[in-house]
């Protein structure tokens, strides 16, 4: 049902390449200096070698658990409460206008 989802990887450990790390860093919007990329790639490859073996387990008959508790239907009543005074939240902003949060251009 998920687009582009992988079949289970085979039991060979999948090595994490610097390109994979670069891609993950782009997804996570964490800038990396050149040296940082290499050393992180080493760290993460090592971690994934161990942690990644989970991919080869045959768990087709085991349903996933996404919540620790079996709770359902916890909902809030549609009753508005007063909002926060603007200044209390806006004053936290690194840059701001009189009434808004200011950010750099959103770019090309």
């Amino acid at each position: 049902m998920r687009p582009g989802r992988a079949r289970l990887l085979d039991s060979k450990a999948v090595s994490l390449t610097p390109d994979d790390v670069r891609h993950a860093a782009a997804l996570a919007h964490i800038g990396l200096e050149p040296g940082e990329l290499e050393s992180l790639a080493r760290d993460l490859a090592g971690i994934l070698d161990h942690v990644g073996r989970i991919a080869s387990l045959d768990l087709a008959d085991v349903p996933p658990t996404s919540h620790a508790l079996d709770l359902v239907n916890v909902l809030g009543d549609d009753v508005p409460r007063p909002p926060w005074p603007r200044e209390e939240l806006l004053s936290l902003a690194p840059e701001r206008t009189a009434d808004g949060f200011l950010v750099p251009p959103i770019g090309a």
């Binding site: 998920r2 009753v79 926060w84």
Partner: protein
Amino acid sequence: MSVPAGWEAVIGLEIHVQLSTRSKMFCRCPNESGGEPNTRICPVCTAQPGALPVANRAAVERTIEVGLALGSEIAAHSTFHRKNYFYPDSPKAYQISQFDEPLCSGGRLAVPTADGDDVVGFERVHLEEDAAKTIHEGGGGGRLAGSHGAVVDFNRCGTPLMEMVTKPDLRSPEQASRFASFLRETIIALGVSECDMEKGSLRVDANVSLRRPGEDELRTKTELKNMNSFSFLERGIARELRRQAELYEAGEEFSTQTLHYDPSSDELTVLRSKELAHDYRYFPEPDLVPIEPSAELIDGLRASLPELPAARVRRFESEYELPLAQALDLGIGSGLAAYFEEVAAASGDARGAANWVLNEFSAHLNEARLSAAESPVRPAALAALVGLVADGTLGSSGAKQVFAALVDGEGGGDPAAIVAARGLGQIADADALAAVVAEVVAAHAQQAEQFRGGKENLMGFFVGQVMKATGGRAEPQLAQRLLREEIARG
């Protein structure tokens, strides 16, 4: 032709509807529009560290109602997911949405037409939260390149948003526009949203592709975003169909893109490329637990659904024997429908009621900028007026005068009283009319001679003169008969 010759258009719509709950989707900030920027915000909708979402029960119920109205399957087990992407209008850098377990699956909407129902299928209806608004400084009109920065207003952030995805069942821009408009009326009838395209509480995107008639597979589609009127939707789709046809015919290819349509120039432009087809990394939202709507809840919501436009239109056709055009005009949009039905019931004359409501009464509402419920002309009064016309007491001119008087609040809302007070009753007595008829014929001897010579169309002139002399009260059939007799006496 809005669909290029030799091609079949394949169109699907993605409709976002802001629900008119009292509070936001995942926090209880007031859900309103307008006002000063950043005055309806809190730690949750500004994503402060440690903030947590709490789902709005009313938003869930309203979405289920919409699903029920469409005949969708309501999920036994529905979950929220995080849709991860970075953008200043998304403070958590993920939107809480739904992925593979939406509240409603499937469904259909039948648009009544003269050739039967035009049925469009739905893939799903799900619930999510709206993003903040970014205003680009230095560059107006929402264009992004070359701006000097942006200001973010979180008032809208967290508004409950219902996303409705149709199947690619639409085959022309007109059909898409008509369908979108009818869907809007249906949602308004349910009372779950104002559906104002200009204010942004209804947003329609179109997925558009072409193929040769008889082709089974779907070809590359493009997405047209945020057309903010039904006419722009229609024109934008037509323009894109033309663009795709031209490319195919020139042997060129194109890829799945997101496009913006500018109605003033009739041009399409590629919107900012969203970081190469986003990898949203959907995963189940751990801060919210699943929703399992009970049978009792669903039955209760279903039982309280109002009559929907599609059903009402067909009912007006059958129950009141109205033509489709009138049934559509009266049945869509509940304001006139309820009023009409009261007038029809009180007068016992559905056709008469329909004519009056759609003509004089609607014109009055437009001019006075009132809704049917606000009009000083109450259904009982209009029903009585309809009756007075039907039984011959009033002719059309007299009826109009009475109506105008009702609008002004004269006669305590009682047409009969107005008729009496103003002496507006139609003259249907031959003796009463005889003198007037004689005078009119005498005063226009030349035309009488021409009429005797065969100029039949002068009867209209003579009837008009009789009407003038009687203040519009002459009963037309009787006036004509008397005139003919008088003229013939020559």
